[in-house]
């Protein structure tokens, strides 16, 4: 029997939605009452969409405070999503006249709607069966205590999520993921920009170099892991052999919790260089020469020319690469980590993705793994939205 508290939250969400939508409608000098009603409806529905299927179990009196806090978070998330959706729809609706003429000028190839849908149907069906349906299943699984091969499952409301707050291993993996991703993105972009600048010089055999530089892109992350495992093996690897014979120092690359993350970073950066170099070379080809010449006539030296002219013009590419590299660092480094360190000495290379693998597949605890993967999913979406809002403002499109 849900207490009064959730209904209060729904009312608050409805009020907030009404306020935002009515402001939007006022801006376009359209019907404010309609906006208020739609906003209230959006807020109310959004506040219910996550907590109603669970029957408000997180607000039950015998549960801990952290469950109720999580419930408030879910309400907030749902209503924010629905209200911003309604807001965006209102914005589109009231500015449709601005796009109408543009749309009429560039009509699509297909006249009707049936044929396009038939062509899209195979992809949509596969997406629905293998991506969307399992995602819904994951949401359901995250509210259960489930083990592979067990006789039954048990409903535990949001315990799988709230237990993450006090799970040191999980919090550790979040920290490591953020650090590793930041390092991988930064080093990968910096080094690949440098390499692209070098490869872009009008030198002999430039096209050959550019082709060879892109090759690491084609190998799988696991293969990169295997290659660097051989290179950085503390006893039999080439790196330590060279270090030993030249400087006389032998670094415990894969055995030390401080050094192991660096091997993962190096391997991941190397693997993603090809992809980034390719895009940067394409971007450099789009930088108009006359801008650079104008800058040098004005007295800018090479460094100033680079940072003031070339780099800002590369910002769309950089922005795109930051997003793709972040996704790569979050998810695709799994293969590399598994082969290199298996989670690392003392869990120093256990990223969130690797932790999901350990909990879900190695330890067969499906419910907790599902909860962790949902948190990762929300985190990546949040990161992408954040990147669009901040860095997206600083991107200069077009010369």
């Amino acid at each position: 029997m849900p207490s009064v508290f959730p209904w209060v939250l729904t009312l608050i969400a409805a009020a907030v939605g009404a306020f935002i939508l009515s402001r939007r409608c006022n801006r376009y000098q359209a019907a404010p009452l309609l906006g208020t009603v739609i906003g209230a409806a959006a807020g109310a529905v959004g506040s219910l969409v996550f907590v109603q299927p669970l029957n408000y179990c997180m607000f039950e009196p015998e549960r801990a405070a952290v469950d109720a806090i999580f419930g408030v978070l879910l309400v907030g998330l749902g209503s924010a999503a629905f209200i911003s959706g309604a807001d965006f729809a209102a914005k589109l609706w009231y500015t449709r006249h601005l796009r109408a003429s543009a749309e009429q000028k560039s009509a699509g190839y297909f006249k009707g709607w049936l044929l396009p849908f038939l062509f899209l149907a195979p992809t949509l069906i596969i997406l629905a069966l293998f991506l969307y349906y399992p995602s819904l299943d994951t949401f359901q699984l995250s509210t259960l205590l489930a083990r592979l091969g067990a006789r039954r499952t048990a409903f535990v409301c949001v315990d799988n999520f709230t237990s993450l707050v006090s799970n040191t291993q999980y919090l550790n993996s979040v920290g490591i993921t953020l650090v590793l991703s930041a390092a991988i993105v930064f080093f990968s972009l910096a080094i690949s920009l440098f390499i692209a600048l070098m490869a872009f010089q009008p030198i002999k055999g430039a096209s050959i170099y550019r082709t060879l530089l892109v090759w690491p892109y084609a190998i799988s992350p696991a293969v990169a892991g295997a290659i660097f495992l051989l290179l950085f093996n503390p006893t039999g690897g080439i790196i330590n052999y060279f270090l030993n014979s030249t400087i006389g120092v032998s670094v415990p690359w894969l055995n030390s919790p401080q050094a192991a993350p660096w091997v993962v970073i190096i391997a991941s950066v190397w693997k993603s260089l090809g992809y980034n170099v390719l895009f940067y070379i394409a971007g450099l080809q789009n930088v108009p020469d006359d801008l650079r010449e104008a800058a040098s006539i004005d007295g800018a030296n090479t460094v100033q020319r680079f940072f003031r002219v070339v780099f800002p013009l590369l910002s769309p590419i950089t922005f795109f690469l930051i997003i793709t590299n972040t996704t790569y660092a979050f998810f695709d480094t799994f293969g590399t980590i598994d082969l290199l360190t298996g989670g690392g000495p003392l869990n120093s290379t256990t990223t969130m993705m690797y932790n999901i693998y350990e909990v879900g597949i190695v330890n067969n605890d499906l419910g907790k793994a599902a909860a962790q993967s949902i948190v990762l999913f929300v985190m990546v979406i949040g990161l992408t939205i954040f990147q669009f809002r901040t860095a997206g403002q600083r991107v200069t499109y077009g010369a």
């Binding site: 205590l145 083990r147 067990a150 006789r151 039954r152 048990a154 298996g342 000495p345 190695v362």
Partner: protein, 448 residues
């Protein structure tokens, strides 16, 4: 006219094609095992081929999986699709999981008092003591033991002799003294000894000190609901290992669980270490490292804690489980194949090509007659160790749900102790809490 002939031809050929279906089809007995190498999978497939010739009414097909984890996942999925095979190999610590799964039927129940099936005799008393006691649950012989090993100790006698040591160390104190002598040598190896950080070794050393791992008599009288990881024996063990690492004697590669075996192979075969604790299942490989690399390898019992004395060691390995709900012919075929695998000759050859112990007394006598143990002294160590072990609650091994996950907690605890300065009791107590949570959840989902 032509059309009619064509039609006739098609009808006749269809009938001919259908005839084989009316003939007597051999009952298919699918066996899933977790070996993919030529030696073990090959041996099993050869026995299947021989069996199929002896009994044409059955068709035994052996499929190999890369490791036990993949095999369990495949079994769980097959159960959901009603596509289970006839026989599945589960390793020993998954015995409770197998029991709880509901997929399997105890072999004694399936035999129903028969003393022979298709001419193959049934003799449960012939199995080596600890082996029979491990796989007899609630007094009922449940699964067929197959690959059974014990944890033993391999020593590079060339290095030991150079340090003036004639026999491999038998206790922890002797091991410490031996390492002191070895590391003082001029061209001493990098480290003195190593072991794979696999939960099995922790269990072995605990059992040697007669400490049970779980309550309710190690889970054998009733379902286990609690594990004890911070017993006196466990603390003594981890303190010993920590001290050995601190002195530079023990080499710890940082790999845990399944990944740890390969690092020990590498360290021992390249003489980076002088001694290694390992499974007797690789006796053949380890004995051959010697002549291949110019040194002598001798196997001995796993060193024990001299303060407490030696009670006995555990078995390791896996057994073959019979799936429930098979049709009578397939079940008889499966039972026959299970019995065929453990005839004295087959059990003996299995031991000879792998190093797993011969699980029946008859097989052991056969090997002794052939003089096998005299020519290959390393191969008898595991069998002797098991034969001389006292059978107590501790050495019978624990029946624990979610045991593989609990093993991961144990190896993580050992990893923490060996790589950081955290006190042993704290690490073990934290590990115990985690393991008990896992066990509690497992029991919640599986207990009746």
């Amino acid at each position: 006219m032509v059309r009619k002939n064509v039609l006739l031809f098609v009808l006749v050929s269809l009938l001919i094609a259908v005839i084989p279906a009316f003939a007597q089809e051999p009952a298919e007995v699918k066996v899933w095992i977790a070996f993919t190498d030529d030696v073990r999978l090959g041996w099993a497939q050869d026995r299947a081929a021989e069996f199929n010739e002896m009994f044409p009414q059955y068709n035994v097909v052996v499929e190999g999986y890369a490791n036990y984890e993949e095999l369990f996942a495949a079994t769980a999925l097959a159960a959901e699709q009603d596509a289970l095979p006839a026989i599945v190999q589960y390793f020993e610590v998954a015995t409770q999981d197998a029991r709880d799964s509901g997929y399997f039927k105890p072999i004694a129940d399936a035999l129903n008092g028969r003393t022979e099936v298709n001419g193959l005799p049934v003799n449960f008393d012939d199995f080596v003591g600890p082996v029979a006691s491990y796989y007899t649950l609630d007094g009922v012989f449940t699964s067929m033991p197959w690959n059974t090993s014990s944890a033993i100790f391999f020593s590079n006698m060339t290095i030991l002799n150079a340090a003036g040591i004639d026999t491999p160390p038998a206790t922890w104190a002797e091991l410490d003294a031996a390492c002191e002598a070895i590391m003082a040598l001029e061209n001493a190896p990098e480290f003195c000894w190593t072991f794979p950080n696999h939960g099995w070794f922790f269990e072995q050393w605990i059992a040697q000190q007669n400490e049970a791992l779980a309550n309710n008599d190690n889970g054998r009288t009733e379902r286990a609901t609690e594990v004890t990881l911070n017993s006196a024996g466990a603390v003594a063990l981890l303190n010993f290992l920590d001290e050995q690492v601190a002195k530079g004697y023990l080499y710890y590669s940082g790999a845990q669980g399944g990944n740890s075996w390969g690092t020990v192979d590498q360290a021992f075969s390249t003489q980076q270490v002088a001694m290694a604790a390992y499974s007797s299942s690789n006796t053949a490989d380890y004995t051959n490292y010697g002549p291949a690399n110019g040194y002598e390898v001798v196997a001995s019992f796993l060193p024990y804690n001299q303060e407490v004395g030696w009670t006995g060691n555990l078995i390791g390995g896996a057994s073959l489980w019979l799936v429930d709900g098979l049709s009578p012919e397939v079940e008889d075929g499966a039972l026959s194949f299970l019995l065929y695998i453990n005839t004295p000759e087959n059990a003996a050859t299995w031991h000879q090509v792998t190093g797993y112990i011969a699980v029946t007394n008859a097989a052991n006598e056969l090997l002794a007659e052939q003089g096998w143990f005299d020519e290959n002294p390393n191969f008898r160590v595991a069998a002797d160790q098991l034969a001389q072990s006292q059978i107590t609650t501790a050495t019978s091994g624990a029946l624990l749900g979610a045991f593989p996950s609990i093993r991961n907690v144990v190896t993580q605890a050992i990893d923490t102790v060996l790589l950081t300065d955290t006190p042993v009791e704290d690490v073990l107590t934290a590990a115990q809490t985690e393991a008990n949570t896992i066990l509690e959840e497992y029991n919640l989902l599986n207990a009746e």
